[in-house]
């Protein structure tokens, strides 16, 4: 704050301060150091304030679901929940498998084979998350009697997306296939979804 008409800033020594003798100026160094320290401190404080909004431990504890397949008959499908979202478990018939395999990759918006979407040796078990990849509605077709769309898979009533028997997007606004969650067969009839 020193200026021509106020040569001695209040509270400072009347000794002349030789700026050119110090490079960088001591005051600048202290200034930068203090602001940098405060900035790092503020960043550290912001971290928990942001992270508290991530899923809490009790939510993450519910992040795996076990499905017993022994009760599901061929051609039948069940809807259960995984991470608070509908989970479609469908026992595909031989006809549905054949239909899915017959589709050329070039016809697909999000090319994936049925093999890629199921586990080895369990090609008849199609497990997908029942949330339309367009805007998040639950597609119809997992329950008996519900419309399954032109391709015999799933039909989303919100904006008309149609999925085939491998739950791949075929028609409508959805960009990608119904997602396949991470899962594993813990025995021949038990599937553990999530990790």
């Amino acid at each position: 704050m020193a200026s021509a008409d106020n040569a001695i800033p209040p509270g400072e020594s009347p000794e002349p301060y030789l700026e050119e003798a110090h490079d960088p100026r001591r005051r600048d160094f202290i200034n930068v150091a203090a602001v940098a320290f405060a900035g790092v401190g503020a960043g550290v404080v912001v971290l928990p304030l942001v992270n508290q909004m991530s899923p809490s431990a009790d939510v993450l504890a519910l992040s795996t679901t076990e499905v017993d397949l022994s009760k599901i008959a061929e051609g039948q499908a069940v809807t259960t929940t995984f991470r608070s979202q509908p989970l479609f478990v469908r026992y595909l018939t031989a006809k549905e498998i054949a239909e899915a395999d017959a589709v050329p990759m070039s016809d697909l918006r999000d090319p994936e084979t049925l093999e890629q979407r199921t586990k080895e040796g369990h090609k008849n078990w199609l497990i997908t998350i029942g949330v339309c990849t367009h805007l998040g509605c639950v597609p119809l077709g997992n329950k008996e009697g519900e419309p399954r769309g032109e391709y015999g898979g799933y039909f989303c009533p919100c904006h008309g997306s149609q999925y085939d028997t491998a739950a791949r997007i075929r028609k409508g606004p959805a960009p990608t296939n119904l997602p396949v969650p991470e899962y594993a067969f813990t025995s021949d009839t038990i599937v553990k979804v999530g990790s």
Partner: protein
């Protein structure tokens, strides 16, 4: 609203000039806490505590908003939701402890701020409005803190709500109806918890609003100073920025250090373990006490153990407790001494010291069990508290012979440094 020599805001770049011409917000900030606010050059570290109170309020609002994202104001699950915050929510333990410790830190800082005002006569003309608004803020803080303490729905929460709302039942005739209306039931319950949560969220913003008025009122005459002598000219002041932003920065650093030590090493030290027991309407804890910052007032409440005149003891206690705070509204007129700073008031200074001791004794009694020894000590201390303001202060403010005041702030500063105003003009040339 400021001294004529205050720096004028000059926008440094065209964007700021554009903004300033349309919405002079940068100018407002510059004049309030920037280089445009001239402040007496001799403020000591006690003058940090206003800014520290602002920092403490900010911490409470930020952590509080975040905690409200996880808390459930329902008597069945409120306690569990607090445990959920402590155990499950990411960094939830840190945020809740910061909020609980932060309340104590806020009160520590505000008490020092109030005692600073009491000692240096900051409540005197022309700053009475600053003081009155400050007392309003203090009352709002007490209401907010009380309602916040109810939210975890532990034993102390429940019985605190029972006792505090019980104050209102002391009002003759309508008291019991008022209490039932406040609680929304015959005992604290779901309805009480929900309204307390709603108001606990609202009041901090009301406090923030009154703080703006508090600062506005302060900036009309400008800040007081340790000598209590008015600013006479430019040589008596320095711009708020960078001088006091830097000094306050040091204060904030120390404050955060102390805060962190309590937060990380003794987060429950200032609380009460009984509040980790879920609320039980059928069992009162053996030793029920409010949070430490209410102890002096709690001691005054308990001081009346006998009916006096035709008024029952219960009503006396409540009246005395409220009066002990409402009294502060009249302080600017109770103390009629023209000298502001306690530094130049030898008799006042002694009694100020005794008042602090008295309030500490009151606090000690209020935090102790209601056994005869503590009650009698509390009664004596309570009598002295009122005597200080109603008898001692009016007398000493009329009879005391103050020490000679310095002619100006600059003179006082230079005398302390062993120089004289003449030296400084010499050196300036």
């Amino acid at each position: 609203m400021s001294f004529p020599w205050a720096n004028q805001y000059q926008p440094k770049n065209p964007v700021m000039r554009w903004v300033d011409e349309r919405l002079p917000l940068p100018r407002l900030v510059y004049n309030a806490v920037g280089a445009g606010y001239p402040v007496p050059r001799n403020l000591n570290y006690f003058w940090n505590f206003g800014v520290l109170a602002g920092v403490a309020l900010t911490i409470q609002i930020v952590t509080g908003i975040v905690l409200a994202m996880h808390y459930a104001a329902n008597a069945d699950i409120a306690f569990l939701s607090v445990e959920h915050i402590m155990r499950d929510v990411n960094a939830g333990w840190l945020l809740r402890y910061a909020h609980a410790t932060g309340a104590s830190m806020f009160f520590i800082v505000v008490y020092i701020h109030i005692f600073r005002g009491l000692y240096y006569g900051s409540y005197k003309a022309p700053r009475e409005m600053v003081w009155l608004l400050g007392v309003v803020i203090f009352l709002l803080m007490m209401a907010t803190a009380f309602m916040g303490y109810v939210l975890p729905w532990g034993q102390m929460s429940f019985w605190g709500a029972q006792v505090i709302t019980g104050f209102f039942s002391a009002i003759p005739v309508v008291g019991e109806s008022v209490r039932v209306w406040l609680l929304g039931g015959f005992a604290p319950g779901d309805a009480s918890l929900n309204r307390f949560f709603s108001l606990h969220y609202l009041l901090p913003f009301v406090i923030a609003g009154v703080i703006i008025l508090h600062i506005w009122a302060l900036h009309i005459p400008g800040s007081s100073n340790p000598t209590g002598v008015d600013v006479k000219g430019e040589q008596d002041t320095v711009p708020f920025h960078p001088y006091y932003t830097a000094k306050d920065g040091v204060g904030v650093g120390v404050f955060l250090l102390v805060f962190a030590v309590i937060l990380f090493f003794a987060p429950n030290y200032l609380g009460h373990s009984d509040n980790y027991i879920p609320a039980n309407p059928l069992s009162t804890p053996a030793h029920i006490v409010p949070e430490w910052y209410f102890w002096p007032f709690y001691a005054i409440l308990r001081a009346f153990t006998f009916n006096f005149l035709w008024i029952p003891a219960k009503l006396w206690g409540v009246l005395a407790m409220f009066a002990s705070i409402l009294l502060l509204f009249f302080l600017p007129w109770i103390d009629s001494s023209p000298v502001r700073s306690g530094k130049y008031r030898p008799t006042f200074r002694i009694f100020f010291g005794i008042l602090i001791l008295d309030i500490l004794v009151l606090g000690w009694c209020g935090g102790s069990p209601a056994t005869p020894g503590y009650v009698i000590t509390g009664q004596i201390a309570a009598i002295y508290y009122f005597a200080h303001f109603l008898i001692i202060l009016p007398i000493i403010s009329r009879t005391e012979r103050p020490r000679p005041l310095p002619n100006s702030i600059t003179e006082a500063v230079l005398a302390k440094k062993g120089g004289s105003p003449a030296d400084s003009t010499l050196a300036a040339e």
